[in-house]
Amino acid sequence: MTSLCRDCLHHAEAAFRSCPSCGSGRVVTHAELLALSIAHVDCDAFFASVEKRDDPSLRGKPVLIGGGRRGVVAAACYVARTRGVRSAMPMFKALEACPDAVVIKPNMAKYATCARQLRAMMEALTPLVQPLSIDEAVLDLSGTEALHRAPPAVTLARFALAVEREVGVTVSIGLASNRLLAKIAAGRDKPRGFAVIGAEARALLASEPVRLLPGIGPAAAQRLARAGIVTLGQLGSLDAKAALRFGEDGPALAARARGEDNRPVDPVRETKSISAETTFDADLATAEALEAPLWRLCERLARRLAEKGFAAGGVVLKLKTADFASRTRAARLPTPSSVPETLFAAIRPLLAREVDGTAFRLIGIGAAPLVPALGADAGDLADPDAPRRAARWKAVEALRAKFGEGVLGAGRGLRPKR
């Protein structure tokens, strides 16, 4: 057994409950502690933590991040979670469970800045960092011992302390031999956790419900349950042929249930689509009412495209009606673009065709296919102004970066005064 103190980084070949060096109780103990090198890093209630960091008066209060009454909870702090609030819960339900919660509109720009800072810190540990979302990443620390003069576990504990000190949020870390187990480990000791899964993986997973596996949703779980499979142990014991009954991915699923996963950590994994969407406080039905949020989404999409170095080869409009039916419509762009005006011009006629008196609760826009930003917005014979629109958008973004979001914008993006 090896134990590591996560506060003073003291580690030794022993199993101790509190650190013999500093007395801290934050000790992690595992036989393979110093040998494992795949880590899953997940921020704890990221958006809420950032807001609490910036406003100390929120400490100890339940904080929810999310849109207006109709939106969903994008993040709930741990105080709110003790009252039963979860991410992705409709806001009105969250407020029923936790009426005294402080609801904060998400400030994505701020979270993105924070996330970039975190990303940079991870990339200082290893080049093999694969971001999974804004606040989650998987890292392969194999072969970094010489560089950091410490085994991966120690490097990670040091990283967690540095994040708390420099970024002001906490992370939970899962350390294991592969990505799947690392992810599961990261979820076992939240918040501010550090969990390790080694050779005991299969035994550990055996009694867990199948839903624990990423990729098994309610529908898949139901299908498995009909076949009498409710635990990962049952699923893992299926041989390849038997597993095929559950589809092409069956055998892979069975392997995962045994804790096997050979996906590499791939720092340049392809981004497949970039999108933005918003849920309205009250249903909207007219083109005029829908175009204002659509314009703001075009701006958001343009910004995300720029951040990731992509342009849109086409646009996808997504609408959700008041009775939750989804509609998606797509159009190819004549030349790739990452400028809101051009995206808006392409998506506006798609919206016009859907406006038929139906009330919509959500609108979204996506870029698909994604193409490299290089050569985008060059315009063509029928659109010689494209480069000027791109230059104008760049100028607007530069001004906004300097003076704030509100400094300059198109009239069509203004919110009506209530």
Binding site: R332, P334, A345, P349, D380, L381, A382, D383, P384
Partner: protein, 375 residues
């Protein structure tokens, strides 16, 4: 309604009107042709709500005037398969009664739909009027229609932009089409009456129909138009079409001004060579590279899968006297343009990445702009 008409005459009229009828229709009556018989004239009307074609057939024996609507393509198919020289009788007792077609010993009962339901494309006032020779109209269409765009996003490019303009001090009628990659601009002396016309975008389907009809006449075609509609009177056919409601781009700005590297090359030899080297590139989006130097033109195409091919043009066919240049174009775009040119093709280059002007060296009334591809 009861009439008797020559099969050949009826077939020709049906052919004209049925081609605007959409093959798949959600509104049943749009699949029908309206037939009206009165005073020795049979009038046939078909529409897809964007275009309406009306044809008047004179010299018809009308024994009982009247009107009804019947399935256009079925009627056309039946009449087409009747013996040449047959006399066709169309008999409609009125109301819901079927339209009875008799020819020799063949007869058909066709279901009808009420005339009252047939949509009429109200013409409204068409204040502008001018006439073009059928040959001139064909010429304007042929030399521009290949550049019409099919993309949905920029619907205002889905037609030919027809407007009055001034070119080197002369008043002209201009037809312009572009899909963003190439642009065709063709002009004719401004016909009388066209001076005050608004710039209008004539939709692609209308262009195709008018072009077909213009083949059948040597007479003048009379054109009436307003801001929203255009009407062509071609022989016995009257075609009315809605116009595309949009703003055509300011195309003058994309026509390069200072392109001073001029290549003249024999059209046939050039088009043949483009066709030859392009056969190596299965993907139509791959470029043919033109390497031009003093008195020399080399064409190259390559495909990563298939290989590479080049061809060089005879020296006496090539005239070029400027700095060497390498530039790539889509093969199809080159031949679409050379198809409109008779003897000598004239290229005006700026550099390998800038829009290039292509002209017929023999005539100044047509100008094409081509965007190069990276090679």
């Amino acid at each position: 309604m009861k009439i008797s008409v020559d099969r050949t005459v009826l077939l020709k009229a049906l052919a004209h009107v049925q081609s605007v009828v959409e093959k798949r229709n959600t509104i049943p009556i749009l699949a029908n042709v309206m037939l009206e018989a009165k005073d020795g004239v049979l009038t046939l009307t078909a529409t897809d709500m964007e275009i309406a074609v009306v044809e008047r057939v004179a010299g018809v024996e009308v024994s009982r005037p009247g009107r009804t609507t019947a399935p256009a393509s079925t009627l056309y198919e039946i009449v087409r398969k009747l013996a040449d020289g047959a006399k066709v009788e169309l008999d409609h007792k009125g109301g819901d009664a079927p339209l009875v077609l008799r020819a020799g010993r063949a007869n058909a009962n066709l279901n009808v739909l009420p005339v009252e339901d047939f949509p009429s494309m109200t013409e409204g006032k068409m204040p502008h009027h001018f006439a073009l020779k059928a040959g001139t109209l064909r010429d304007l269409i042929d030399r521009t229609k290949f550049a019409i765009s099919t993309e949905e996003t920029r619907y205002y490019l889905n037609g030919i932009y027809l407007h009055a303009a001034e070119s080197d001090g002369a008043k002209v009628l201009r037809a312009v089409a572009t899909d963003g990659h190439r642009l065709a601009r063709v002009e004719e002396p401004l016909p009388e009456g066209a001076a005050g016309m608004p710039g209008v975008i004539v939709p692609r389907k209308t262009v195709a129909e008018v072009r077909k009809l213009a083949d059948e006449t040597q007479d003048e075609v009379s054109i009436h138009l307003s801001d929203t509609k255009i009407r062509f009177d071609i022989g016995t056919v009257q075609l009315t079409s809605k116009l595309i409601d949009g703003t055509f781009p300011e195309y003058e700005r994309v026509i390069p001004k200072g392109n001073d590297k001029i290549l003249r090359v024999g059209k046939k030899a050039f088009a043949d060579a483009v066709g030859r080297v392009a056969s190596i590139s299965t993907e139509k989006s791959r470029p043919v590279k033109l390497s031009v130097s003093r008195g020399n033109l080399m064409l190259t195409a390559n495909s990563p899968e298939l290989g590479q091919m080049q061809d060089e043009l005879d020296e006496e066919l090539v005239s070029y006297d400027a700095a060497p240049i390498e530039i790539g174009f889509q093969a199809k775009y080159l031949t679409d343009i050379t198809d409109q040119i008779s003897e000598q093709v004239e290229f005006h280059f700026a550099d390998g990445a800038a829009p290039t002007i292509v002209k017929d060296a023999g005539r100044g009334d047509a100008l094409y702009v081509l965007m190069p591809m990276r090679v």
